[in-house]
Symmetry: C2
Subunit: 390 residues, 2 copies
């Protein structure tokens, strides 16, 4: 059950995407993340995989008894059907599937589906209600659309890396494949929007998602800031550009994030760290002055935080109403009481290897069971079942 | 027009969310990003703002003739209605609006809507089809749900910062407010999913999105990797954990991302940088050996790349079929030919200040005009128009 306190589960309610049928040609991360989001909301996903190796990510570590933890973490709740798309029989099977499907998702390079005779133009003749979504590095068209688009390249081209990191470090890749994930998320959003639109239009749609576009779309105020000022945004580490103290600070046993972004929080914060003496000191009196003298202030703050454990700092600051939080490593994040309470770590019961923990769904919505998910499929686990129905 | 080559615009098609009515109580970034995504797909957004100051972000820089570029960049296509929610008349107006609305989105702290008498339980009595979405730092319930959840805190608590950065730097905040944006995106996805589900159930839904949940959900393989190995994932800079060469490299005039992740690409790459001599050198012969000797290899590669301009490197590597891309700063990203071709930089024609450039929508979908967006509203611009209809 999901929205725990507010919304007791209504047993009659179905999951929002129940009955939506998806043919899934995707591999590795961006596409599989998209179809996992659809599966989490109740859609039926038929994942088409090539014989023998399947999705490339089935060989990605960590491996457990030959099965990929990587694959499992983005393919829960899907069915796996092995088809050799070089054969006419396989193509015919896909076309038959299309007749009764709502959505097709793929993340091949532009043109690959056409070579297979399975492009949107061909398939919409068979099923005009089909929603056909492609995810690529650069999109279906444009001067460099044929180039390979790995996550690191999309993060680089889209400008994300240039604003991530400290002033004295090189541009920095976000530590998760955020370009892949973002493009998968925008794809899932586009698909469900198209499903909604189809209710009135009766028409399917073609969706064209690019990883670079997706990165550009989340640069927050960077585009407008550059446009207005002509100044290229730079790397500023973890601090806020115009509020202080608003950064991470080193503690005895790690780091803590503190966000005391106005004068009353500043006064309370200085009191909490027993430095009432600096509250009205000329150089720290206003937010503007604190930003100007940020380095000096950070040193003063860290003189205090370095002498205390994260846990004690949090207790103390929370008592004073200062917004703060631990900078959790993954080991701490997965054990955080709030994270556990929210069912953000869930267990899948996988064939062959047993129980394995993955991240849950952040989309908490009435009636959705956010704790119990079906496992990721073994390669070809559902081939017979699905093909028998055709 | 959007999916340019493949999908000529069909003039009869409506935008996917046309006719969807949204009451928007959101402020700053996470909520406004969500409702901008809904607006981009054609939904009608009525943004409720408090008198005089409105959304806090109306005062965020960069300012142009007193108007906020920050606000404009995440509020295009919405209507602004000023209401003082402390008054009964305002609450009555919101309730009237609810009768004919599909969606309500808010990002106050948990409990604030209840204090106003505008919580889900109250409003669904008036309109059982209402979809009510909240976005908060930690979610509506749980041990720390009442704590303030700024972006930097959610990035910290969710583990994202711990895996972003170089081995010798502190944890690193992603340079854009990714926790805000991700929670806005998951909210938008939840909302359209609920709209779809409502078509069969006839029922609205309660959606509860948390910034920390949203960060946890995009950690890629970090959760499963930790679960399986017991090892806490660390910061590894911009390189790939298990492929080499797959990193960014310093050029004469910036950095370039290169992704030569298999043996044949390696051989081609070494040839491209005129180092055929090291292709079969014992220490670089296999991917595993290259990863093991990554530092040494990076030095060799940068000896070459530092001597050449990005443009020349790209030409050369692309000729050899090596996946690569420039590490664009924002100035370069917004001018990239592909970015421009894809309409990812669009111009809004704002009242008072004229034309201003913002990032476009990455959701390219049949029939959607991805070039011409309505401007962001002035504070209270639509108050009379909207209230007159009630």
């Amino acid at each position: 059950m999901t929205v725990r306190v507010i919304c007791p589960r209504n047993k009659k309610m179905k999951n929002p995407l129940e009955g939506v049928k998806v043919i899934d040609f995707t591999r590795v991360l961006s596409g599989p993340y998209c179809t996992m989001m659809l599966a989490d909301m109740g859609a039926d996903i038929i994942k088409i995989e090539r014989p023998k190796t399947g999705d490339d990510s089935r060989s990605f570590g960590p491996l457990i008894a030959g099965e990929s933890g990587y694959f499992i973490s983005v393919n829960r709740g899907k069915k796996s059907v092995v088809l050799d798309l070089k054969t006419d029989a396989a193509k015919a099977a896909v076309k038959k599937l299309c007749l009764t499907s709502d959505v097709l998702v793929e993340n091949f390079r532009p043109g690959a589906m056409k070579k297979l005779g399975l492009d949107y133009e061909s398939l919409k003749e068979l099923n005009p209600r089909l929603i056909f979504c492609s995810i690529t590095g650069y999109g279906q068209d444009g001067p460099v659309s044929q180039y390979a688009g790995y996550d690191v390249i999309a993060q680089a081209v889209g400008g994300m890396m240039s604003i991530t990191g400290y002033p004295d470090t090189p541009p920095t890749r976000v530590g998760t494949s955020i370009a892949d994930v973002l493009s998968g998320m925008f794809a899932a959003y586009g698909i469900v929007s198209a499903l909604h639109g189809r209710q009135t239009s009766g028409q399917g749609a073609r969706i064209d998602i690019s990883m670079v576009d997706s990165v550009m779309a989340v640069l927050e105020n960077a585009v407008v800031r550059y446009g207005v000022s002509g100044k290229t945004p730079e790397r500023i580490g973890s601090k806020h550009p115009s509020l202080c103290p608003f950064d991470i600070y080193e503690a005895k046993d790690g780091y803590i994030a503190i966000a005391a972004g106005n004068d009353s929080l500043w006064r309370e914060f200085a009191t909490a760290i027993k430095r009432e003496d600096i509250i009205f000191k000329k150089e720290f009196e206003t937010n503007e002055l604190r930003c100007h003298n940020e380095k000096k202030l950070k040193k003063i703050i860290e003189d205090y935080t370095r002498a205390h454990a994260i846990k004690d700092l949090l207790n103390n600051l929370n008592k004073h109403g200062i917004p703060c939080g631990p900078v959790n490593d993954i080991a701490r994040a997965v054990r955080h009481s709030q994270v556990l309470h929210r069912n953000m770590i869930v267990e899948l019961d996988q064939k062959k290897i047993g129980k394995i923990k993955v991240a849950g769904t952040p989309v908490k919505i009435t009636g959705l069971d956010d704790k119990n998910f079906s496992p990721a499929p073994l390669l070809g686990e559902h081939t017979d079942e699905v093909l028998a129905k055709l």
